[in-house]
Symmetry: C2
Subunit: 244 residues, 2 copies
Amino acid sequence: MIRRGFQEAARLSRHRALLGGPHILPRLNPTSAFGSSTDSLVSRFCPEKTDLKDYALPNASWCPDMLSLYQEFLEKTKADGWIKLPSFKSNREHIQGLKLPFGLAATSDKSDWRIFTRCIQEEGQGYEYVIFFHPSKKKSVCLFQPGPYLEGAPGFAHGGSLVAMMDETFSKTAYLAGEGLFTLSLSIRFKNLIPVGSLAVLNVDVDKIEDQKLYMSCIAQSRDQKTVYAKSSGVFLQLQLEQE
Amino acid sequence: MIRRGFQEAARLSRHRALLGGPHILPRLNPTSAFGSSTDSLVSRFCPEKTDLKDYALPNASWCPDMLSLYQEFLEKTKADGWIKLPSFKSNREHIQGLKLPFGLAATSDKSDWRIFTRCIQEEGQGYEYVIFFHPSKKKSVCLFQPGPYLEGAPGFAHGGSLVAMMDETFSKTAYLAGEGLFTLSLSIRFKNLIPVGSLAVLNVDVDKIEDQKLYMSCIAQSRDQKTVYAKSSGVFLQLQLEQE
């Protein structure tokens, strides 16, 4: 999700590596995170106590499929190592206490900033979603229910709304799995339309981490897996967020 | 933007071609539209008189760059063949009197349906954009100003919001240039972040029309063309909307 000047970012990163001697980027171990451990990233990302509103909680608009799969995954958080990610109104809240790399500075005015996938606050009208993440498997599952403000063809979700949901799920997964910050590329093949108000399940995998890049894939389908909505892949650049 | 069951759509379309004799899909002339002429599509799409609100008009939130480039293109509509596309609240309004192909049916309840890129109605907070289309050049230009509800990284537009804007610009262009209806695939390479509140100019070209597919490309950049935000390509399947 953070993408400004990442050519510059990659260049500086490469330069730093060169300063240390080796003339190639350090080969990263796919089983370890870039700089911080996945555990420390997760515990920072999922504060046990916060006054911030978590938008990734059930509400009256959720369809029965969404609600029951949410409950299933909630059970898995107790035993199977899955973690339910909170979802705050803005990424500013997610990265509190950290500064953006390479001189990127956010204005700090009093505007009502919202992360795009939480742009519509009326329950059920826009994005309803919740992301579960599995640290050791480096997988995520996003339960996504598009509302009538996300329409493309009459009665169906706009392709762009699905791509944005994929980008956001990639983004959170990339950050937690390996400090992936910059989306370098996305590629999507569409298969079927998602009816407004129904559930799409996005399964995201980190396929490999190599040369400071995370390679991820996603399949979006109906709960019974009989209908594939779309398949996508994404590449993210690893960069550390520093303490302020 | 219309994507349900397009494997089925392509299959049936192919079947129809086969019924007519040739065992390959008809090779389409890139200079002509699929079934309807571009002129008839444009005149249907841009009604001279309508009570529908056009959201693609300047408002107080538009930055000076957006406003002045809008005026420049408005001048070009008088002499250079450019057309300013209206932008209604829902695609239901854009395709009034036409039915979706292959049994796709939209519910007709009284919900407040909105096309995704017009999901936020507060001026300046979400999507501000206007698309100009050139029928004979088969080009479009979209002036896009993301608001604070479209945030990704603090202070910058979410990648997904840009992809959705590209998909929507591709979609309208594909329809008018050659009855492109189904997005088959999208591919995006990100270069730099777009600051919230600033102008991004999306230049879209139809590169070729072949085997019932429109191949399109887009470059999103700053007005002075010094900063490239992203490059993308998209493939759309041609299908005719029939009269109801």
